[in-house]
Subunit: 347 residues, 2 copies
DNA sequence: TTGTATGCGTTATCAC
DNA sequence: GTGATAACGCATACAA
């Protein structure tokens, strides 16, 4: 074994990446002291602290994440399991990811991305391999195997969505039922007795995302309460969509109400091509992001991804810190809010 | 130290996560054999292999990623540095992330997400801490400090975008100049001598993303070649946008050409409210994703995020495998293609 | 074809 | 307030 004295470097030394031992030598302290300076887990005299910090800066030392994880039993990483397809808008997903990542960075955590096409195995893998300390599962289905696994796994898991059997799992989501109710009530308030609803694509419905039936239930129950008839249309490619548009844009004797679960540009374009102007000839409400709703001037409820993300990360870090018991809290729901814009007449 | 015999477990043993040593004991082989079975880096007799694999299955063993990284000097992780805001569409970014993640998983790599708000430090951090083996930097600016750091850092970096000084860095992007050229030429072919262009928001321009000037150069040079006059409009909130819309929707004596750098719903809506129908009263071309273009029935060039991602990952893994020399290849560009839809008359 | 032994760079428990 | 030192779980050079 080669002796490690300070003058042993060859002339053509490759720039080795410095370790905490190098920092210790440079600062004239022990390696463990360097570790404690970084973690702050024990009192350090200000002079040693300064010398160590200067050595760190001189060598541009960075701790090895793997070694840390191995010795410290924590990775400082959280995993996000993404949904299979952009079922809600890509915008919404990006907002989630962005918000969670920023919150993580504030605590010096990193974010690992897992695609849902790995299925339940992905969840098992990232915690099994100790790739993360906690997991966020986005957009779970009504019955989702990953919810079961969330209970078995030895890391905290927060689930976005309200699955059928969510007992013992930390669930959290936007209140889609409340949104459905709010949108129908708005049209009812405007005097509509019948409402056309353009719902989700059949394949989105088939995926079993639980927010679809929740929204539907909210809308349906509000419709019953207010004596409104809901006529559901499912958009699809070419022919199916055309039929929907014809029905939705057909001339009516009475005022017409339209509820969109997304800001379908095709539908809005079709309306205007038929001479129907939102806010004048037809009242249109939608489930859409603020950005979309603004661009299309739609009265809408946004699904508030930022607020949901905030609560997700709060819950997650509470679990990580041991400030909360896993699966103990009831499913949490972020209330819906309606913003009126030009696509509806004023009540 | 406690002796590690097989009957030492207390009655109330917490389920310890198994290590390769546990697998070895269970299979009656040495720990190194387990390692070699998993890596395939040396020949193993079929009987041993079977016994080890069965033991792995019985114990549901998963290797500890940190320990692997420490001992193996590789993390099997690639990092993606995201842009600050969704400058191009969120859809486009999600597609990038999705495509890169899938390609990574095919090689048993994971993906770490880094937000650009960390700035150049983020790039330094993830490779300094050995959190990844390689990095993709999304949407670099015309002059971007991260490009400089990409050269210094000891891990392969592929950059999406064509920065001013990209020498010695692996750059790759969609051919925005070609797209600008293509779109202008299409309008020229339709007989337009003057074209209104609705460009990027001023704050996007201010961010210095280099695809903006590239697109502009392509469009401008095509306009000069074809004797077309380009009138640039920059959208903005409320008042600015209103002015733009008035100018763009003003009645004209001659046929009118319109080029959008995004599928601005506000602009399209405004057109139809002014009774101007794309493909009849005005020819509209756009830089927009297939999804958007289809929804709005726009003649458009897509920015092909999937194809760009494919080339990014190909390049990245070539660098990781040592099949390519870093910074050696010229900047690579994915050609633009135009798809005609209902928003333009047939030539 | 398999086993032994060492080191990877931290954290954390002792001792002083 | 600081310094040795034993894990942590795996990869791999060296033996057999």
């Amino acid at each position: 074994m080669r002796i490690d004295d300070e003058s042993s470097g060859d002339v053509t030394d490759v720039a080795k990446v410095p370790t905490s031992a190098d920092v210790a030598r440079e600062a004239g302290v022990s390696q463990s002291t360097v570790s404690y300076v970084m973690s702050g887990k024990r009192p350090i005299s200000s002079t040693t602290r300064r010398r160590v910090e200067e050595a760190i800066a001189r060598l541009t030392y960075e701790p090895h994440a793997g070694a840390r994880a191995l010795a410290g039993h924590r990775t400082s990483t959280i995993a996000i399991v993404m949904p299979l397809r952009p079922t809600s808008s890509a915008q919404r997903l990006m907002t989630f990811v962005e918000e969670i990542t920023l919150a993580a960075r504030e605590r010096d955590y990193d974010v690992l991305l897992v695609t849902a096409d790995e299925g339940p195995a992905g969840l098992r893998r990232v915690v099994g391999r100790s790739l993360c300390d906690a997991v966020v599962v986005m957009e779970v289905g009504t019955t989702d195997e990953r919810v079961t696994i969330a209970r078995e796994v030895r890391a905290p898991v927060v689930v976005v969505g309200i699955p059928e059997d969510g007992d013992g799992v930390d669930c959290l989501d936007f209140d889609f039922a409340g949104a459905g109710r709010l949108l129908v009530e708005e049209l009812a308030d405007l005097g509509h007795r019948a409402v056309d609803v353009v719902g989700w694509d059949p394949d989105v419905v088939a995926d079993g995302y639980n927010y679809v039936p929740r929204f539907t239930r909210g809308a349906t129950s509000a419709a019953e309460d207010r004596g409104v008839e809901l006529r559901w249309h499912l958009p699809a490619d070419a022919p199916g969509l055309r039929t929907t548009l014809e029905q939705v844009c057909a001339p009516r004797p009475e005022p017409h109400g339209l509820l969109l679960v997304r800001a379908f540009p095709e539908v809005l374009r079709s309306l205007s091509e038929h001479g129907l102007r939102p806010g004048r000839d037809v009242d249109v409400v939608a489930l859409a992001s603020d950005t979309e709703a603004q661009a299309h001037d739609l009265t809408a409820t946004a699904t508030r991804p930022r607020e949901v993300s905030r609560r997700v990360t709060a819950r997650l870090f509470a679990l990580i810190d041991g400030d909360a018991v896993p699966g103990r809290a009831a499913a949490e729901t972020v209330p819906a809010e309606l913003v009126r814009r030009g696509s509806t007449r004023r009540p």
